[in-house]
């Protein structure tokens, strides 16, 4: 039964894609919040240099040293970029943009000069080929397990463990590095740990999904999750869930329309981000629109209350506090005045007698008006 699972390319694609997605998005949550998601781009390009250098040193493309070399190259990129940034000559994005193309170009040059025969071609690195990932297998027990599945499984486990174990520390270091340091944590170390794992994950992801999809998976699911929640742990878990869903959905769509699996995964992720952008409960566009409308309505009711309150008791009350006078004094069109009065009545803040004519504040209405005029009473 298990053998059937490993031999089923469809299930393999999906599982590997899902593993990459979970691993990437769990790390990505912190990179996005820290405002350093650009590093993902940088790392996933410059790890090529590590791969090439290790190949030139060992003559192997698939050795575990590859991971180490690539991770080192990734960290080098970050270190150089931070160095340039801290010199204050360049902004961070400019510094990153300067460093990683240089390292990437160096890698391409080395490939061109010394490694032409090897199958490290730029396209494969950038776009990956999920469809072939399952062909390269390693024997585990009696099963032939795709190599990508094994590496990505280990890497995803490491990423999830790291984030799970150091969740509190990562949260504090990302939100308030100063306090983290003062309380005896090591925010820089944590940050480099995070980027080290990002580099390792990038290398692992190359075989399977390529750099472009990897970058999308680091940034898009956490960004979408951030639009949907105000809790960090929900953002991390939600990002993972979105990545899982997108890999399944992307795979299904790719089969359905016979297009690239990786491409479809990116598309589904993008669609989810778009949906979150419009429909998110708090930050979403629609919610904002509705909230704006509700707040405007509330503001109008408050204006009405204050108007009634200030004229309560003076001899003009008869005239001012008539529903008709609102058109005049608050410059509200008749239709709007009627709506606001109806709203205030429904909330039990105002009564009118005869129906819709003379307006009176209820006790609650008076209280609310005083709260506006004397905000210091609120506590």
């Amino acid at each position: 039964m298990l053998a059937a699972f490993f031999d089923n390319p469809e299930l393999m694609f999906m599982t590997i894609g899902a593993l990459v997605g979970v691993a990437a998005s769990v790390l990505g949550a912190f990179l996005v919040l820290r405002g350093t998601s650009l590093y993902t781009d940088a790392i996933s390009h410059s790890v090529l240099l590590g791969i090439v250098l290790v190949y030139l040193a060992t003559g192997e493309v698939n050795s575990p040293y590859q991971l180490v070399g690539a991770a080192a190259a990734g960290l080098l990129t970050v270190y150089l970029s931070e160095l340039l940034t801290s010199s204050r000559l360049l902004k961070r994005d400019a510094a990153v943009g300067l460093v990683f193309p240089a390292l990437f170009a160096l890698a391409m040059l080395l490939i061109g000069l010394y490694a032409r025969r090897v199958h490290i071609d730029a396209d494969a690195v950038l776009l990956g080929e999920l469809a072939f990932a399952w062909l390269d297998t390693v024997p585990i027990g009696e099963y032939a397990v795709p190599r990508s599945l094994v590496t990505m499984g280990i890497i995803a486990l490491a990423d999830v463990l790291f984030v799970g174990l150091f969740f509190k520390e990562l949260k504090l270091a990302t939100f308030d590095a100063g306090l983290a340091r003062a309380l005896g944590f090591r925010p820089r170390l944590l940050f480099y740990g995070l980027l080290f794992l990002t580099s390792v994950t990038a290398v692992g992801a190359f075989d399977a999904v390529g750099a472009v999809l990897f970058i999308a998976l680091v940034i898009v699911p956490p960004a979408a999750a951030h639009l949907l929640t105000d809790r960090l742990w929900l953002m991390v878990i939600g990002g993972g869930a979105i990545a899982l869903f997108a890999s399944a959905g992307g795979y299904w769509a790719a089969m359905r329309w016979d297009v690239s699996i990786g491409g479809m995964m990116a598309v589904v992720n993008g669609l989810i981000l778009l949906a979150a952008f419009f429909l998110g409960p708090r930050h979403g566009l629609l919610a904002r629109l509705l909230r704006g409308r509700r707040q405007r309505a509330e503001a109008h009711v408050r204006m009405l209350l204050v108007h009634l309150y200030t004229h309560e008791g003076d001899e003009q009350a008869e005239r001012e506090n008539a529903a008709l006078a609102l058109e005049h004094h608050l410059r509200w069109p008749a239709e709007q005045a009627r709506r606001v009065v109806a709203q205030a009545e429904a909330l039990g803040l105002v009564t009118s007698e005869p129906e819709g004519q003379r307006l009176h504040l209820t006790g609650a209405g008076r209280e609310a008006a005083r709260e506006v005029l004397e905000p210091w009473r609120r506590r």
């Binding site: 939100f175 340091r181 003062a182 809790r231």
Partner: protein
Amino acid sequence: MVDRWDERAKGAVHEPSLALHIEDLTVSYDHRPVLWDIDLDIPPGVLAAVVGPNGAGKSTLVKAVLGMVKPAAGHVYVFGRPHLQQLRRIGYVPQRTTVDWDFPTTVLDVVMMGLYGQLGWIRRPGRAERRKAMDALEQVGMAAFCHRQISQLSGGQQQRVFLARALVQDAELYLLDEPMAGVDATTERHIIGLLKELRSRGKTLLVVHHDLQTLPEYFDWLVLLNVRIVAQGPLKQVYTLANLRQTYGSQIGLLHGMPAGTGGPGAESPGSAALETAAPRAGGRR
């Protein structure tokens, strides 16, 4: 990097009778000194104000004590030991602008962060931590907002949350960077009440403050700063018009509040135009 800088003084006990002792501290950004040759002593148990014009280096001073900026020269001792060994005994309320308000975190969560140091690595905050954090929120009158995301608070409310976070840290030296900025009069009185209570429990507080008028009412120790230390000491001795004028230079005429009517400083230069314009306001407020 910062650790190496303080290597020399490691283990050495220096001026243990002072809560904060700073020697020859110079801090530069891009080779431009913003703090120059600071010598500062804060005795334990005082509620001290740091006052100076915008850009005087007040925040930088606070950050230097916390090890958040690297000094070009000098030494900082907290309760007799190099400050970097003492960071856990320091509570910090940052200036409002330095926080990512969109961060997905709630009020209660932010306050609990103050307890992370006591928890150490890996251990998670639990029920006890929640209770402590809620107690602190209760103290600052923010318990009702505990599940709000932090951007959905007014400026004064945000300030109180960070105050609560400093409270749970249970530090001995508190550094507060303009805790009263942008809060209403009630909240300000509430905050200063809390600070005075902390003082009465033996804590030492160093507060960056902007309103000269309220200085004598709120504080008992005063540090006047403008790149260098202009004056420091018990408020009664330091709070003089001459000192303030030296701190603020030509801006003095623009100040909201001046020492006046309290006898001492006014007597020094009674004919001053600044004093005359400022005095009626000072009188009107009390």
